[in-house]
Subunit: 199 residues, 2 copies
DNA sequence: TCCTTACTTGAATGATCGATCAACAACACT
DNA sequence: AGTGTTGTTGATCGATCATTCAAGTAAGGA
């Protein structure tokens, strides 16, 4: 019994992700947000409550999309380890494209807000913990299948893997060449080799 | 024929490093800077020109201190590879302490400013490039001494090593336990093993 | 002692920050 | 068509942003 919003909420969030991912929380002003979303302050505040609320939803949206991409990627591989190695190489490849930023938005948020905005820092932390859990499950699954050595501590290896992803995407922000990044991703993929089960 | 400054420039810069390292560029206001340095705006602007200028000098000071620490650390080791492995473990240990932030200030600066403040981003980039060069030299020296395999691409290994350091210090910002961090640092140190020369 | 020079102080600047709200517009219902 | 509800608009809010500057203060040289 009333009027429809003329914006699409998902589309607005997608645009917000683009801005926040590129410029960060403190680096994005409401004026820039208004321009990016093509919405006026009243609509933005009615839809998302506050700048914090919008950022929080954008971060959640980003994380969800990332999780879906990882799941979709892994589904293409019979071997978990092969899939994870390809995932690393894929990051290097996609960093050559024109994303808002090379570095991961979650990591950028964690580093930016850990001492200035505890709510957002906690959210970023939870996302990273969830990714760690996902990686651990994948590795345990690989271990159960006999892909990984029985003595491997999967939680520990998941942490090593997450650190690789964070390091790779952070160093990509330096603007390295595609070849350098591809070499690095290959070297990181090789790190997993010693953990494979020996037949 | 005039008055002396009553502040100590080096000490002021040290305090500025503490604030900027913790809160970042956009997260530190002039009011906070005034309180941290115990200086009034006029003095700050007379001494450093602008907030940007102060940040730039603070970043340079941080980088110089980091470089000196690495050099001092490496001098304690006969083997370069042993020294670098210990360096990684040392990061995990020192992250347990009470630094302004666990993550590296240079990386935080790069990620925060790469799309909002090109001057600072460029400076952070140059610092990282200098570290990469230092690591490459160390590894080449190790290779000349027969510590590393002759086929190792030292520039490429330096990049892998830098990515480890960035990843380790970034993931430390999650607030992991000392044990978890120590395990991770050990796993990263092990990455260097396959690059050693086989006798 | 007095003058010059340099450093310090704190109020004030205009700009921009995130956020609010009254007025208006559009659609779904009776 | 009339009415109630909800989305949109843009001016406007006080707060805070980085920065400036005139006035005051301390110390070296004559």
């Amino acid at each position: 019994m009333a009027r429809h919003p003329q914006y699409d909420r998902g589309e607005a969030l997608h645009k917000a992700v683009g801005l926040f991912w590129e410029k960060g929380y403190h680096g994005s002003s409401m004026k820039q947000i208004e321009q990016t979303l093509d919405m006026r302050p009243g609509s933005i505040y009615a839809a998302f409550g506050s700048k914090d609320g919008l950022f929080s939803e954008a971060l959640a949206s980003y994380a969800e999309r990332g999780g879906e991409e990882l799941a979709a990627h892994m589904q293409k591989f019979d071997s978990v380890v092969d899939g994870l190695q390809a995932y690393l190489r894929n990051i290097a490849y996609s960093c050559a494209g024109t994303c808002p930023s090379k570095a991961c938005m979650v990591v950028k948020t964690l580093l930016e807000t850990s001492h200035t905005h505890s709510t957002l820092a906690r959210q970023a932390n939870e996302v990273l913990a969830a990714i760690e859990t996902t990686l651990t499950s994948l590795l345990e699954q690989a271990q159960a299948r006999g892909e990984l050595d029985k003595n491997v501590d999967c939680g520990r290896l998941a942490m090593l893997l997450q650190a690789q992803i964070m390091g790779l995407r952070a160093i990509a922000e330096r603007g390295l060449s595609g070849d350098q990044l591809a070499d690095l991703a290959n070297d990181m993929a090789s790190i997993l080799e010693p953990y494979r089960a020996r037949h």
